[in-house]
Amino acid sequence: MREIVRRAIQARPELTAELLQRGMFGPEEKAAMLPLLSKEGCLKGGVVGPVQFTTLLAEGDAQFAARAVLRKMLGHDELTWLDRLLKFQKPNGKREELARIVERALEGRTRNARSR
């Protein structure tokens, strides 16, 4: 199973549903993910607002959130919120990497952040 599919299944249902709705996943990923998601009832996530969406990203799996940012699933305001919310987190390697990716996205850079 692809890494991103595994992470999507493990994430909060509202978050996965929102990202699916925003078109984050390719056809192959969707095909691998949808049977598992519907089986576990993960597609029932309700509508989430932009702040709720960014909070779910900030509080969840940092690598999954980084993928969402790199695949341009967030608008500028949402990126700003995510940047703020990440400051409330206890820093660790993955979160710092995510913060760098968000800062780069805010500056209009789209590629992955090089590790130090």
């Binding site: 607002g49 779910l56 509080e59 703020r84 987190q89 820093p91 913060a99 800062e103």
Partner: protein, 245 residues
């Protein structure tokens, strides 16, 4: 480049203890040519206070907002180059950095200013080295602002800079009354029950409270009702770290 504040101060800033302390320390660092650290927990309002100070300080100052990607070179670029100016010398970054450094020192000696660094806790060690060198070579006064990590980082990892810091100011979180005023000022109308829950969860951190309240507003809006204690309790579910408290 450093500037004296000319623009009028923003109207929408509540002059609370954080703003007062930070501006007073900035004035002191400038007058005495000291290095001062200002630490406070995340979400207390440091950045808001810096925004206010940037617009109101009556002497030359330069504010640098730190990022994860701030390096020694980007730091010197911010201090030595005018906006839009490019540094055209060829060579590796460290060679370019040494030339830029000389230029920064020369400028500070000609016209000193106060350097204010926001989120200084995120600075890398080599940047702290540069700051120490700048102080040694040009007596550049500095105000380093950050969370608790800043003191710990400098104490543990950078003794040479640590010895040069004259004042270490630790801002206490806002008191209940101040916190209430800040939230009111931010436009949140809270009933006692909501405020009590917020205070229990986040203490004197308006930034964190704002994040919770905005989530609660969205939850309430999606249900077509006005925000209440249920929505706020619902918002707490989105913050597993707070929930554990």
């Amino acid at each position: 480049m450093p500037v004296v504040a000319e623009v009028p101060a923003p109207e929408k800033v509540l002059i609370n203890s954080v703003v007062k302390n930070l501006t007073a320390l900035a004035a002191r660092a400038w007058a005495k040519r000291w290095i001062i650290t200002f630490t406070a927990p995340t979400g207390t309002g440091k950045t808001t206070a810096i925004d206010y100070a940037e617009r109101t300080l009556p002497f030359d100052h330069l504010v640098i907002r730190c990022k994860q990607i701030t390096t020694r070179y980007t730091m010197l670029q911010a201090m030595g180059l005018a906006p839009g100016e490019k540094w055209t010398n060829h060579g590796r970054n460290w060679m370019r950095a040494s030339e830029l450094y000389a230029r920064v020192v020369e400028r500070v000696r000609e016209r000193p200013y106060l350097l204010v660094i926001d989120e200084a806790d995120r600075l890398r060690l080599d940047v702290f080295e540069i700051l120490r060198d700048l102080w040694d070579d040009s007596r550049l006064p500095m105000l380093l602002v950050g969370n608790e990590v800043l003191t710990e980082k400098i104490n543990r990892q950078h003794e040479r800079l640590f010895r040069r810091i004259r004042v270490r100011f630790d801002q206490r979180p806002l008191r209940e009354g101040d916190m209430c005023k800040v939230l009111e000022f931010m436009g949140y109308e809270l009933v006692d029950e909501e405020f009590a829950l917020l205070w229990k969860l986040v203490g004197g951190s308006p930034g964190f409270a704002e994040a919770l309240l905005e989530n609660a507003n969205e939850i309430a809006a999606s249900q077509g009702v006005k925000r209440g204690i249920e929505a706020l309790e619902g918002a707490v579910r989105y913050f597993p770290t707070v929930r554990k408290c």
